[in-house]
Amino acid sequence: MAIGVKVMTRPEREVSYVRATFKGLALTFKHMFQTKVTMQYPEERSTRDDRGTWTLSPRWRGTHRMLTDEQGRSKCVACGLCPQVCPANCIKLVPGEDEQGNRYPLIYEIDEFRCVFCGYCQEVCPEEAIHVGQHYENSEYSRGRFVYDLERLSSQTHAVSTLWDPTDPRGE
């Protein structure tokens, strides 16, 4: 014997492949009439439906969204933390300052192609301005459209991600 293979002696009903074949046939036949689990994607979205099956996780990290204050200005104070923490280096930020000394972003661009959707930008943001959101349909007709500028980020309306909370790992 070349290698130490332990050959199990099993009861006949376990090794009988004629019976196993019939069992398998019955199983596959039964499956033909079971409820289909396929999600009919473009018609059926990953939002709430009656069965509540296809809900997107509240922690889903998708397309970015910039939150705005009551006057409609972005909450961003151009501190520079998000481009600093970004592992994919996809955030372009040029800070500016108005007469009162308030900092605001002159240019704020996120390249959604480069982004790895880690959610660090949301986590690091002291003003809770930049968020990753529960949204994933980003198709465009040109590559240039994937660089989201400040206006576009602010006009997004989808729900923002709740991210993962270490004190509440199960999200309860």
Binding site: V5, K6, V15, V18, R19, L25, T28, M32
Partner: protein, 441 residues
């Protein structure tokens, strides 16, 4: 040309067109059915975007395959590479020519043009046009519902079906790729091996019907019992060999995806690939139709003899019955595909040569002996009594066969088989849970 000959040619051409069209459209729809069945068995929906419930999916696939780029591997043998798809495509379609798809139709007229003229409203014009083109067309007697009612139909099927292996072997060789070649080699070995078992398994059918023409075989079944009873073992062997001949799972080693990428058609693209695909499904249809014809009475409607009368509605009904029988076996082929995993190569060969072949040979002896004993020693002349007696014998053999097969003696692991043959004096023992350390050797 005599009117009778004209009638024969005309009806033959019509039958050819119908069978060819139905075969190609049916095969296209079978690809959809395969995907649907596989999806359902995996709790999915399957293709449902193109057309209603995905019914136009085959058309979309076909269009895509025609528009796709044809690729030629640089080192391939161009001539054979081109020839191979045709070589597997043509025999697969040729087989459909000899299988009767309905009961014979009784036709009796001296001039078809006059018959057409009886159709209300347009008949007059059509009849005149028909007459102008064909002249007098007559037909008297039973029109067999088969493209070619060959007296050697059965041998024709065996001969042509074995030609399919050329297409696959040549495709594997001409591609000049290691995966293709391995696929081609496996295919040729497998198909030639199972050809033997297949041919042997059908000898009892010939013994019982005493004829090699499909019409006679069906007639014999209509008069006694469907051969699935009297020749159960033959049916079993034929079914398994049929799976192996069509390279369907669990015998799809020539195109084993996990081992050989796609086997013999790895290098093929576009319509040439599609032709292998069509050939495979055409073979599935043929095997299913053969099972239905040889063992389930073909177009025979059970418990009635009226289906042989030749009236048109009985012909339509008998065709429906034939369709249902064939369709069930097509479904069965797909069903098996999504149930059983692939055999190992040595298991495949062992099953073919060590089990099915000797079994088929022994069964020929048993059936021949039983027919002789029943007819000459016991003097039973009724074919029905003989069929019942053979059914009892076959069932007994069947029970014994399944009992033996079930002991895991044939397709179990090679190691346990070896041990059964020569028990190892020193059994390996395990020390600890994970470390396979042998205590003594």
């Amino acid at each position: 040309m005599s009117p009778e000959l004209k009638g024969f040619i005309l009806f033959s051409v019509i039958k050819m067109l119908i069978v060819f069209t139905v075969m190609l459209v049916g095969v296209a729809l079978l690809t959809l059915m395969e995907r649907k069945v596989s999806a359902w068995m995996q709790n999915r929906r399957g293709p449902n975007r193109v057309g209603w419930a995905g019914l136009l999916q085959p058309a979309a696939d076909g269009l895509k395959n025609i528009l796709k780029e044809e690729t030629f591997p640089k080192e391939s043998n161009r001539g054979l590479f081109l020839l191979a798809p045709a070589l597997s495509f043509i025999p697969a379609l040729m087989l459909s020519a000899v299988i009767p798809f309905a009961a014979p139709l009784r036709l009796n007229f001296d001039d078809l043009g006059q018959e057409i003229a009886r159709i209300p409203l347009v008949g007059h014009v059509l009849g005149a046009v028909f007459h102008a083109i064909f002249g007098r067309v007559a037909y008297h007697g039973m029109l067999p519902m088969v493209v070619a009612d060959l007296p050697v139909g059965f041998l024709f099927v065996l001969a042509i079906s074995s030609m399919g292996v050329y297409g696959i072997a040549l495709a594997g060789w001409a591609s000049n790729s290691k995966y293709s070649l391995l696929g081609g080699l496996r295919a040729s070995a497998q198909m030639i091996s199972y050809e033997v078992a297949m041919g042997m398994s059908l000898i009892p059918v010939l013994l019982l019907s005493g004829n090699v023409s499909f019409s006679a075989i069906i007639a014999e079944q209509a008069h006694s019992l469907w051969f699935v009873g009297p020749l159960f073992i033959s049916f079993f062997i034929f079914l398994i060999s049929g799976f192996a001949e069509t390279n369907r799972l669990p015998f799809d080693l020539p195109e084993a995806e996990s081992e050989l990428i796609a086997g013999y058609h790895t290098e093929y693209s576009a319509m040439k690939f599609s032709m292998f695909f069509i050939a495979e499904y055409a073979n599935v249809v043929t095997v299913s139709a053969m099972v239905a014809t040889l063992f389930f009475g073909g177009w025979d409607i059970p418990f009635t003899r009226a289906d042989e009368s030749g009236t048109w509605y009985w012909v339509v009904l008998s065709h429906l019955v034939f369709f249902i029988k064939t369709f069930f076996w097509i479904f069965f082929v797909m069903w098996i595909r999504w149930t059983l995993p692939r055999f190992r190569y040595d298991q495949l060969m062992a099953l073919g040569w060590k089990v099915l072949m000797p079994l088929a040979l022994a069964y020929i002896m048993v059936i021949a002996g039983a027919i002789y004993a029943l007819q000459h020693l016991m003097g039973i002349t009724s074919v029905t009594t003989r069929a019942f007696a053979l059914t009892v014998i076959s069932l007994i053999i069947g029970v014994i066969m399944f009992w033996l097969l079930d002991r895991g003696a044939i397709v179990s692991g090679s190691e346990s088989r070896r041990q059964r043959l020569e028990p190892d004096p020193v059994r390996p023992t395990f020390v600890g849970r994970d470390r396979g350390v042998r205590a003594a050797s």
